[in-house]
C-alpha cells in the first residue's frame, strides 16, 4: 500500500505551516534521507526527508500553500511494485497521525487546582491560539490611533530594534540571537541591522555570560540578555540576584545595573519538567529587581521598551506559546507601557480574576463561560509582578468582593499566595469569600500528554473556582 506523508510538526508548539516548495516532482524516485519538500513556519524553514524508498505518486498540496495543519497528507509515495492505480486507496485511508490527540481520562483528583475550594478540574482541551488579532483595551491612546495586527514575537523584536536605534549603548547577547536569528526567532533581522558588535552570539554558558552582561552594565552599557528559556537562567541566578539586584544597595547607591534579562518563561508544550516552569515568584521575591510578564503583543512591546530604558535590572518573562499569537498593537513612533501598572482586561462586577502572561487568555475565556451563566467576571492583567499594582487589584476587589488568582506556576509561595495575603491584609472586610488560587499542579511537569494537561490550569478550572467563590 502506498505511503502517505503528512505535514510534520517541526517543534513542540507548531500546529500549522506553509509548504514552501517541492524538491521532487511526481514520478521521481526517492530514497530514505532525500529531501522532498521545504516547510516554513513563523520561526523556521526546514526540509522534509523521505523515510521510504519509492516513487513520488501524487503531490496532494501544491507548493506555496499556507496554514496546512500538522498531519495533513501532503504527498503519496508509491512503493516497489505499486502504480498510480494504488493512489486512490491510499488517499482514501491516510496513514494514522503519528501523534494522535490523547483521550482525556477522568481525573481522580483536581490536580490543576490545589487550593480550596475543591473544584472538578474537567480537563478541557487547551484552546489553540486564536488566529485572528485579539483586541485589547488600551488606556491613554491618542484618539484615532491606528492599530495593526502583530504577533508577540514581532512586537518584542520591534521593541528591541527601536531601542537599539535610539541608544547605542543598548545591545543584545545570548545563545543563538545573532546568526540563527534567535532560537524562537525573536531577534530576527537584528544582526543584519545592527551588526555583530551589538547582536552577540554567546557560548552556552549562562552563568558566565550573565555575569559578563552585569559587568557591562556596571561599565555603563545597557545589555539585553536573552535566555533561550528561563529554565537555563537558573545557572545564572546568582549573578541576577547577588550581582545585578543587590549591588546598588550594597554600594550605597553608587552603582547601577541597567539590564534586561528576557526570554521564554512558563509552561511550554511537551518538554517536561526541566523545560517547563514559571519563575515569576522566584524573581518577584527579590528586592532590587523589577519583574514584568506581559500577555498581549502591545504590552510586550511597550513594556520591553520601558524595561530597556529602565535604569534598574528588569526580569522580562515571556511565554513561548504566546510568541505566535497576534494582537492589535498601536501604530505609534514610541509606544511604551509603564512598569508597575496592571490593566483591566475585561470589566465585570461579580468576581475579580487576577492573572498574568498566558493565563490572562485563560481567564478571559473563563469570563466568557461565566458570562453565559450570568456571572460577570472582571479580569485583571497584572503585566508587572514587581512592583505589583496592588491599588488596581484592590479597587476591583472592593467592587466585586471576590477574587480568584491564576498562575502557571506552583501555588506554594507563589504570586497568588502573595496576592491573597495582600488582599487579606488590606481588604479583609471587603471580601465575601476567601480568595482562591488556581495554579499548576504541585509536581515536576510530566511529559505524558494527559498528565501534562492535568498539570496546567485552564479556563474550565478558573471558571469552576470563580463559581465556587461566588457560592454558585
Amino acid at each position: 500500500m502506498p505511503v502517505t506523508i503528512t505535514m510534520p510538526a517541526l517543534s513542540p508548539t507548531m500546529t500549522e505551516g506553509t509548504l514552501a516548495s517541492w524538491l521532487v516532482a511526481e514520478g521521481e524516485s526517492v530514497n530514505p534521507g532525500d529531501m522532498i519538500a521545504e516547510i516554513e513556519t513563523d520561526k523556521a524553514t526546514m526540509e522534509v526527508e523521505a523515510v521510504d524508498e519509492g516513487v513520488v505518486g501524487k503531490i496532494l498540496v501544491p507548493a506555496g500553500t499556507e496554514n496546512i495543519a500538522v498531519n495533513t497528507p501532503i504527498v503519496i509515495l508509491l512503493l516497489e511494485g505499486e502504480d498510480a492505480a494504488s493512489i486512490d486507496s491510499a488517499a482514501a485511508s491516510p496513514a494514522p497521525a503519528p501523534n494522535p490527540a490523547p483521550v482525556a481520562q477522568p481525573s481522580p483528583a483536581p490536580a490543576a487546582v490545589a487550593a480550596a475550594p475543591a473544584v472538578a478540574a474537567a480537563p478541557a482541551p487547551a484552546p489553540a491560539p486564536a488566529p485572528v488579532a485579539e483586541a485589547v483595551i488600551e488606556e491613554d491612546l491618542p484618539a484615532g490611533t491606528e492599530m495593526v495586527a502583530m504577533t508577540v514575537r514581532d512586537a518584542l523584536r520591534d521593541a528591541m530594534a527601536e531601542e537599539m536605534r535610539g541608544d547605542g549603548d543598548v545591545f543584545l547577547m545570548g545563545e543563538e540571537v545573532a546568526e540563527y536569528q534567535g532560537a524562537y526567532k525573536i531577534s530576527q533581522g537584528l544582526l543584519a541591522e545592527f551588526g555583530p558588535r551589538r547582536v552577540i552570539d554567546t557560548p552556552i554558558t549562562e552563568h558566565g555570560f550573565t555575569g559578563m552582561a552585569v559587568g557591562a552594565a556596571f561599565g555603563g552599557l545597557k545589555p539585553i540578555v536573552e535566555f533561550m528559556t528561563f529554565n537555563f537562567a537558573m545557572q545564572a541566578i546568582d549573578q541576577i540576584i547577588n550581582s545585578a539586584a543587590k549591588t546598588r544597595y550594597m554600594s550605597g547607591g553608587q552603582m547601577g545595573c541597567p539590564i534586561v534579562f528576557r526570554g521564554a518563561n512558563g509552561i511550554a508544550s511537551r518538554v517536561a519538567a526541566q523545560h517547563s516552569q514559571c519563575y515569576a515568584s522566584w524573581y518577584a521575591h527579590c528586592p532590587g529587581l523589577k519583574v514584568v510578564s506581559p500577555y498581549s503583543a502591545a504590552d510586550a512591546k511597550g513594556l520591553l521598551k520601558s524595561a530597556i530604558r529602565d535604569p534598574n535590572p528588569v526580569v522580562f518573562l515571556e511565554n513561548e506559546l504566546m510568541y505566535g499569537h497576534s494582537f492589535e498593537v498601536p501604530v505609534l513612533d514610541d509606544y511604551t507601557v509603564p512598569i508597575g501598572k496592571a490593566r483591566v482586561a475585561r470589566a465585570g462586577s461579580d468576581v475579580t480574576i487576577v492573572a498574568f502572561s498566558i493565563a490572562v487568555g485563560w481567564a478571559l475565556e473563563a469570563a466568557d463561560a461565566l458570562a453565559a451563566e450570568g456571572i460577570s467576571a472582571e479580569v485583571i492583567d497584572l503585566r508587572s509582578i514587581r512592583p505589583l499594582d496592588l491599588p488596581t487589584v484592590l479597587q476591583s476587589v472592593r467592587k466585586t468582593n471576590r477574587c480568584v488568582t491564576v498562575e502557571e506556576g506552583w501555588l506554594a509561595c507563589g504570586i497568588g499566595a502573595e496576592l491573597s495575603a495582600l488582599i487579606m491584609e488590606q481588604a479583609f472586610d471587603e471580601l465575601d469569600a476567601p480568595v482562591s488560587r488556581v495554579g499548576g499542579a504541585d509536581v515536576p511537569m510530566p511529559y505524558a500528554a494527559n498528565l501534562e494537561k492535568l498539570s496546567v490550569p485552564d479556563a474550565a478550572a478558573i471558571a469552576a473556582t470563580a463559581k465556587a467563590v461566588c457560592y454558585r
Binding site: G219, R248, G253, G288
Partner: protein, 357 residues
C-alpha cells in the same frame, strides 16, 4: 613554597622558571628591575603604599577584636605587593574589581582610608553608607567595581567591564583579581573563554596565597600552576613572585602593554601568602605557625623592599621612619573617623534599592 634567596637585587626569585623552556603560552616573568636613584621615588611610593595597607589591616584586625567591626573581615596582610605593583602599572580610567579580600585594593586605588574603615564599622561615612560592609564596597570615582562576596562571581563581571571598554573603544582595560579558591569555579572558565574568544582587554590576576580558606591549593586543584589555566584557550599565563613588588610591577607593565595593545586577555599568577587567617574567625589549624613565621621572616614584601631601599641608599632610616609616622597618622585618623561617624539613619533602610524612575 620555595625559599627566596636573599639578594640585593630585589625579587630574583624566578630561578624555577628560568630553568625550563617555556611554550609560547607560558611566558617568563620579566626580571624585576634593581632599585637605583632613577626609580627611587617609585620604590618609596611602593613602600608607603604597602605599609599603609598593612597598618590599615592591622588596625582593622584590632578593631574587629574590640567588636567595632562585625561579620566577616578578610585581611590582606602579606599580599600587599600584588595590588601595589599592579596599580602602578595601570592608568587613570582603567577599572578593577576583586573578591571580598578587598581593603588593600581599595586603598591602592586611592580610595580614602576613612571611608573604607567607616564601612567596616557600618557607619554612614563608609563608602556604601554602611550598607555593604567589608566585602561590598565600590567607588565609581576611583573606578573600583567591588568588593564581591561570592567566590568567583567577580571574574565574569570583570570580563564584562572589559567588554564595555572594548564596546566603547575607550582604550581602557579591566583588572580582574581573584584567589586560588576562585580559580576552581566554573564561571571563571566561562569568563576566560569569552574574554579570549572576543579578545577583551582584561588582565586576570590570580592571587595564589596558597590556601582557599583552609584548603591548600594542592588539595583542591589538579593543576597547581594556576597561570596555566588559560592555556587551552590561548590565554598567555605568567607566574610572578607576588611577594616582590618590583617583580609585580614589571609583569604588570608587560601585561598592560599586551592587553592595551589589543592582543586579548592575559593571566598573571601572583605567588603570594596571607599571614592572617582566611577571615578573623579562622583558627588556621591547616598550616603550622612555623610556616607562617618562615614566610614572614624570609619573604615579607615590605621588609624586603625596606632592606633594598636602605642597602642601595635611596633613603635612610630617618626618611623611612617619617613615612611610617605619616602612614600611622592616616590609619589613626581613619579609625577615629570610623568610630565617630554615626550609624546610618533608619530612613536609609529603604533607600538605594532601585533607581527611582
Amino acid at each position: 613554597m620555595a625559599k627566596a634567596a636573599k639578594s640585593k637585587a630585589v625579587g630574583s626569585k624566578t630561578e624555577a622558571l628560568k630553568a625550563t623552556k617555556l611554550p609560547a603560552r607560558r611566558r617568563k616573568a620579566p626580571p624585576p628591575p634593581a632599585i637605583t636613584k632613577d626609580n627611587a621615588g617609585e620604590a618609596l611610593g611602593f613602600y608607603r603604599q604597602m605599609l599603609l595597607i598593612r597598618r590599615f589591616e592591622e588596625k582593622a584586625g584590632q578593631m574587629y577584636g574590640m567588636g567595632l567591626i562585625g561579620g566577616f573581615c578578610h585581611l590582606y596582610i602579606g599580599q600587599e605587593a600584588v595590588v601595589t605593583g599592579m596599580q602602578s602599572a595601570i592608568e587613570e580610567g582603567d577599572t578593577q574589581l576583586t573578591s571580598y579580600r578587598d581593603h588593600g585594593h581599595m586603598l591602592a586605588c586611592g580610595m580614602d582610608a576613612k571611608g573604607v574603615m567607616a564601612e567596616l564599622t557600618g557607619r554612614i561615612g563608609g563608602y556604601s553608607k554602611g550598607k555593604g560592609g567589608s566585602m561590598h564596597m565600590f567607588s565609581r570615582e576611583k573606578n573600583f567595581f567591588g568588593g564581591h562576596g561570592i567566590v568567583g562571581a567577580q571574574v565574569p563581571i570583570g570580563a564584562g567591564l572589559g567588554f564595555a571598554h572594548k564596546y566603547k573603544n575607550n582604550g581602557r582595560i579591566s583588572l580582574t583579581y581573584f584567589g586560588d579558591g576562585s580559580a576552581n569555579q566554573g564561571q571563571v572558565y566561562e569568563a576566560f573563554n569569552m574574554a579570549a574568544l572576543w579578545q577583551l582587554p582584561v588582565i586576570f590576576i590570580v592571587e595564589n596565597n596558597q590556601y582557599a580558606m583552609g584548603t591548600a591549593v594542592g588539595r583542591a586543584t589538579a593543576q597547581t600552576e594556576l597561570y596555566r589555566r588559560g592555556e587551552s584557550i590561548g590565554i598567555p599565563g605568567v607566574q610572578v613572585d607576588g611577594m616582590d613588588v618590583l617583580a609585580v610591577k614589571a609583569a604588570g607593565d608587560e601585561a598592560v602593554k599586551h592587553v592595551r595593545g589589543g592582543k586579548g586577555p592575559i593571566l598573571l599568577e601572583m605567588k603570594t601568602y596571607r599571614y592572617r587567617g582566611h577571615s578573623m574567625s579562622d583558627p588556621a589549624k591547616y598550616r603550622t605557625k612555623e610556616e607562617v613565621q618562615r614566610v614572614r621572616a624570609e619573604r615579607d614584601p615590605i621588609d624586603h623592599l625596606r632592606e633594598s631601599i636602605l642597602s642601595v641608599g635611596v633613603a635612610d632610616e630617618a626618611a623611612l621612619k617619617a613615612l611610617d609616622r605619616e602612614v600611622k597618622d592616616i590609619v589613626t585618623e581613619a579609625a577615629e573617623f570610623a568610630q565617630n561617624s554615626p550609624e546610618p539613619d533608619p530612613a536609609e533602610l529603604y533607600t538605594d534599592i532601585l533607581v527611582e524612575v
